[in-house]
Symmetry: C2
Subunit: 184 residues, 2 copies
C-alpha cells in the first residue's frame, strides 16, 4: 500500500494496486501494474472493447427489431432478448471502466473480477447462442429454401453478423478477466 491516496471512499469494490516493484519514481502518475494487460477491466483498451461490444449489440437489436416479421421466429425473438441483455451489460461495464480510469484505480478485487468473469461468461454464451440460432435460420431461409423474396434476408444476415461481432469482442474481455482471476 505505497500509494498517495487512501482508498477509504471506495472501501469495497476498488482496490489500490499493490506495486510489486518498489515505486522508485519511474512511474510517477500511473497506478498500472506491470502485470496489467491492455483489455483487462479498468484499462483504456478494456473500455474500448466494452464500447464496441455495446455498439455492435445495439446495431444487431435495432436491425432485427426494424423487420416486421421477426416475432414469428423464436430464434429471432431470442436474439433480440439476448443482445439487449448484452447491451445493458456492456454499457454498465463501460461506465465502471470509465470511472476506474478517471479516478486512476485498478479493478483488482478478487470478488469484482469474479463477478465480471461470470457475467461475461453468461452474456457471451447467450449472445453466441442467439447468433448461432439466427445463423441457422438465416441459412435455412436463404440457401435451403431459396426464399429470400418474401423475407428480409439482408436484414437478418446483418443482424446475425453484428451479433457474431459483438460475441467476438466479448471473448477477449472474458478471457482476460478469467486469466487475471486465475493468475492472482
Amino acid at each position: 500500500m505505497s500509494n498517495r491516496s487512501r482508498p477509504s471512499v471506495h472501501p469495497f469494490d476498488i482496490e489500490v494496486p499493490q506495486l510489486t516493484e518498489p515505486n522508485n519514481g519511474a512511474l510517477p502518475d500511473e497506478t498500472v501494474r506491470m502485470k496489467d494487460v491492455q483489455g483487462m477491466p479498468g484499462t483504456p483498451a478494456g473500455l474500448v472493447l466494452r464500447v464496441f461490444q455495446f455498439a455492435f449489440a445495439a446495431v444487431a437489436v435495432a436491425v432485427m427489431a426494424a423487420t416486421s416479421d421477426f416475432p414469428s421466429v423464436t430464434a429471432f425473438r431470442y436474439l433480440v432478448a439476448a443482445l439487449s441483455l448484452q447491451c445493458l451489460w456492456s454499457l454498465s461495464l463501460a461506465i465502471v471502466d470509465l470511472y476506474a480510469i478517471l479516478v486512476k484505480r485498478c479493478l483488482r478485487n478478487s470478488r469484482v473480477l469474479g463477478f465480471f468473469t461470470i457475467g461475461d461468461a453468461i452474456t457471451s454464451t447467450l449472445t453466441f447462442a442467439a447468433a448461432c440460432a439466427s445463423a441457422g435460420i438465416t441459412v435455412l431461409i436463404s440457401s435451403d429454401f431459396n426464399n429470400c423474396g418474401q423475407n428480409h434476408c439482408a436484414r437478418f444476415e446483418t443482424s446475425t453478423a453484428m451479433a457474431f461481432v459483438s460475441w467476438f469482442l466479448v471473448s477477449p474481455s472474458f478471457f482476460l478477466s478469467f486469466w487475471s482471476l486465475a493468475s492472482r
Copy 2:
C-alpha cells in the same frame, strides 16, 4: 525432480510433477500434486469427462445421421460434422488421459496444456454453435411451423439435446485446463 523414475522415455510431452512440498513419505504411490483438481488432464475424473463427451457426441451424430432428411438442412449437416470432430478429439484425449494415468504421470507441460486448452476451446465452440443452430431449426419446425408430422422432430430434438450435453461436458475440461495454464 524428486521422483523414482527418470522421464527419459517421454522426453517432450509428459513432465514429471514437481512436488512443491518435500516428499516426506505421506504420498508413497501418488504423483498427484496438491494443486491437482479432479477433472484436469491426466486425472481419473478428466478421463471420465472425456469418455462421456465422446459418448454423447457419438449418440448425437448417430441419431442425426439415422434420419433420412438431415442433408437437406445446412445446420444439421454442420452438426454432424462438428460433433464428429468432437468425437475424435474427446476419444484422442481419453486415450492420452488413460495412458497418463496408467504410467502415473501428470500432464503438466505448459505446451501440452496450451494445446489441450486451444483444442477444447475450438471443439467446444464448434459443438455449441452446432447445437444452437440445430436448436433454432428444431424450434422453428416444431413450434413456429407446427410441422412435426412430416419431419423427424423427436430425432432432431434428441440429437440437439445430446449435442448440448456434450458441450456441457467439454466446458469443465476447458475451464480446468485454462485455469491450470493461467495459474502455473
